[in-house]
Symmetry: C2
């Protein structure tokens, strides 16, 4: 485990406020430029300069409207609202980079699989095989209302539908066009050999399809599959499909235990536990010196908005936290959602009641992360220790003041990690899948997606 190179993603979103709320107000923060192509291209160049493995873009298809019973707090503080489409950023950033991966979040619940599969294939073509897909099945009730459902379908039923969705898109990506289907033979006038292109037929409870995939095979066919399921059914889904697992940061001990369990479950499922990358999220502030890093933290904190983090947390838990004040214990009552919310709030805490004050105290930079602050050497030590103690393969580093925070990581932290032999000195060649997993560019058995191929 020791001496392995860490994976680092930048964790961001096509929005003003992602996970460190209020920082858009910092004079050097450029997050309000999220509507400009140049903003994203500059970020992509910065990340590639720092040899980041990928830019991981979160997404939400609803709004946070539990706090105070409305979206007012979300609008006022720009809590992931507005939130623009992440997928269409990829071509602009791919145009100015060569190696950086792009992990984009798409909630499959709202996508027609035939056209979704084509959009992803197109992005994989345009990025020359640098696309990852973070598979989300939806968690906001507001999202269901927005898209015309009367409410969320049951949690387990949602994953069954998701499994079926995956079967459909795997077939489109892996089974419709043979590797040698496109011959582009100008002399014979044959672009594709019809005998090597196959109709996908699927007739399931949720999806029916009878079609040739519209895109010829892209470098990776199926994009690299990310998943962040935390529930029992979500983890079962992830164990089956994911090549990269994002797990919540619950502290070292709980994370180590979860990583161990996950790798065991992956092995039980017949997959090589080493073929799956497990990442968790961290927030870091790096300075030339420890003092400079602490000054930065103090400076950033003046612009952070912990109340906004509380409003986001309200939607994550389903508890209207605007109803609680100060040191009043948060005691939600009734209902399954509230129970799981309660579990979330009390997770990792053995003693004492949760209160708004206690929650706010933990939301240093306008989010639920406790930043790791220091000179590059200190932060590098912390990251290495974290990885070695927990078994994670790397980290999603949360956006703070942007792009400054990512530039500091690229220019200060990465060289330090390289000196310790814990970060690559150059990108590996090939697609994102080859870079991340070291294997072939396409899904390999026993991954269920590969099983759909005619010659898997």
């Amino acid at each position: 485990m020791a001496c392995r190179e860490l994976l680092l993603n930048a964790f961001d979103m096509n929005t003003v406020g992602h996970l460190a709320h209020g920082l858009w107000r910092h004079p050097r923060d450029r997050a309000t430029d999220y509507k400009d192509i140049a903003y994203w291209q500059d970020l992509a160049r910065t990340l590639e300069r720092g040899l980041f493995d990928g830019l991981f873009l979160a997404d939400t298809t609803g709004v946070y409207d539990v706090y105070g019973g409305s979206a007012d707090a979300a609008l006022r503080h720009a809590i992931q609202l507005p939130a623009n489409d992440p997928a269409v950023l990829v071509p602009a950033m791919a145009a100015v980079t060569e190696h950086l991966g792009f992990g984009i979040t798409v909630n499959l619940s709202h996508e027609p699989p035939y056209l979704f599969a084509r959009r992803m294939s197109t992005l994989d073509h345009l990025s020359r095989g640098r696309l990852g897909w973070n598979i989300v099945t939806g968690f906001l009730d507001s999202s269901a209302r927005a898209t015309g459902s009367s409410g969320l379908t049951g949690h387990d039923a949602r994953y069954e539908r998701a499994d079926e969705f995956m079967d459909v898109v795997y077939q489109l990506w892996e089974a419709s066009w043979d590797d040698d289907a496109v011959v582009a033979d100008a002399l014979r006038g044959v672009y594709a050999e019809p005998s090597r292109v196959h109709r996908v037929r699927h007739d399931g409870p949720h999806y029916q399809i009878d079609a040739i995939h519209l895109s010829e095979p892209s470098p990776q066919r199926t994009p690299v599959l990310y998943q962040a399921g935390a529930s029992a059914r979500g983890i079962a889904f992830a164990i089956k499909h994911a090549e990269c697992l994002f797990i919540p940061n619950q502290g070292r001990a709980a994370t180590a235990s979860l990583v161990k369990t996950l790798r065991e479950r992956i092995a039980e499922a017949g997959r090589d536990p080493g073929s799956v990358r497990i990442l968790t999220s961290l927030e870091v502030i790096v300075g030339q010196t420890g003092a400079e890093a602490n000054d930065k933290l103090a400076d950033y904190r003046r612009h952070a908005e912990p109340r906004a983090a509380l409003a986001q947390f309200a939607s994550a838990t389903g508890i209207d936290l605007s109803r609680y004040e100060g040191d009043e214990p948060i005691r939600p009552a009734g209902g399954e959602a509230i129970q799981s919310a309660h579990d979330a709030i009390t997770r990792g805490s053995a003693t004492g009641a949760w209160t708004v004050n206690r929650l706010l105290a933990g939301m240093t930079l306008g989010g639920r992360f406790t930043p790791i602050v220091g000179a590059a050497a200190e932060v590098a030590t912390e990251l290495i220790d974290w990885a070695d103690a927990t078994g994670v393969d790397g980290f999603n580093l949360v956006r703070t003041v942007t792009p400054e925070g990512f530039a500091d990581i690229a220019d200060l932290l990465v060289p330090e990690l390289q000196t310790r032999g814990r970060f690559k000195r150059a990108y590996a060649p090939g697609t994102l899948r080859e870079k991340l997993l070291g294997g072939p560019p396409r899904l390999a058995l026993p991954h269920p997606g590969a099983a759909w191929r005619r010659n898997p």
Copy 2:
């Protein structure tokens, strides 16, 4: 009408073979690079050099499988198959241009309106207001099967559903965020004023929504609306919604008559006929001299594949033209689709039976267009005469050998049109809507989309 500047779009598709089939085999044709970002960026730069108003990208969400009862011909000749997603090309091309418009085709039948509206808003943001949407409601039966419907819904019912879709996306684009909703006030910590953001509620037979639009207002809000409906119900839809109408090229007399009828119908609908641009499609080959242009035509023709055009025409008409040979009259029998197909085949022709040979003879460059061939002066005269005789505002110029054909237009034809005072010498400032229509950047009354605004 005379002396008006013509509008020129490049008419293309994210595919190997668009409307001039076989030309991908030409040694100088780069269409097989359609999977590369650089190919599209180079094209966009070429078009902007030539002051093209826009790049209009067609799309299809099905395959042409009527000819011979399979998609074999489509695959072999790359007849709009493979066909990648056009929308995601926009950010890459917008990054290297400043003025060029992007008209992308999206079939609304397969789109969830809430997320579609966001994707379009994101593209309008990223392109700084240069997005146009060609509204399609679907025509291929294979597309319906691919997306899980058992077959196409009735033609008129489809347009009723499309009207409802428009009502939903208009509300998201025009009515959810007030113009002054985003204040981005760092001092007060307010990004958007909640009182200026409104929930869209729609409960119709086909779509239900209860949501805030996820995107803040983009430069144009609603993208410039293109439509190409040719049926009675399609024209009614276009008259109501379209800002640019694409009409089929049926020769000068029939086109002039159609333009006149359309402008009358637009006026009857209470809209200013001058507020709608009408374009038809032409295919041109321009040379330094007439002789050079004719040499080019002869050279291009050697690579054209008229049989592929026949296969595409089979899907457009619903007649399996592979069942007819040589001079055998094409006499399809029975059924409504066949009748309208028969109308299509016989349109513009008063005498004589249609045969495969007769159709093939008209498919000079692997498509249904008869190219206008000549030195710039000759082609310019032809285009100007065409516009003045028919009343169209301009042309979609079909891709031939690419990018050479568009470069010839930019470098030879455009200067000639400028000399005649019939083409702009510089782009007008502002959004695509301002450039095309000369008015405000956003929909204006009496357009029905503008009526949804709180202060229209």
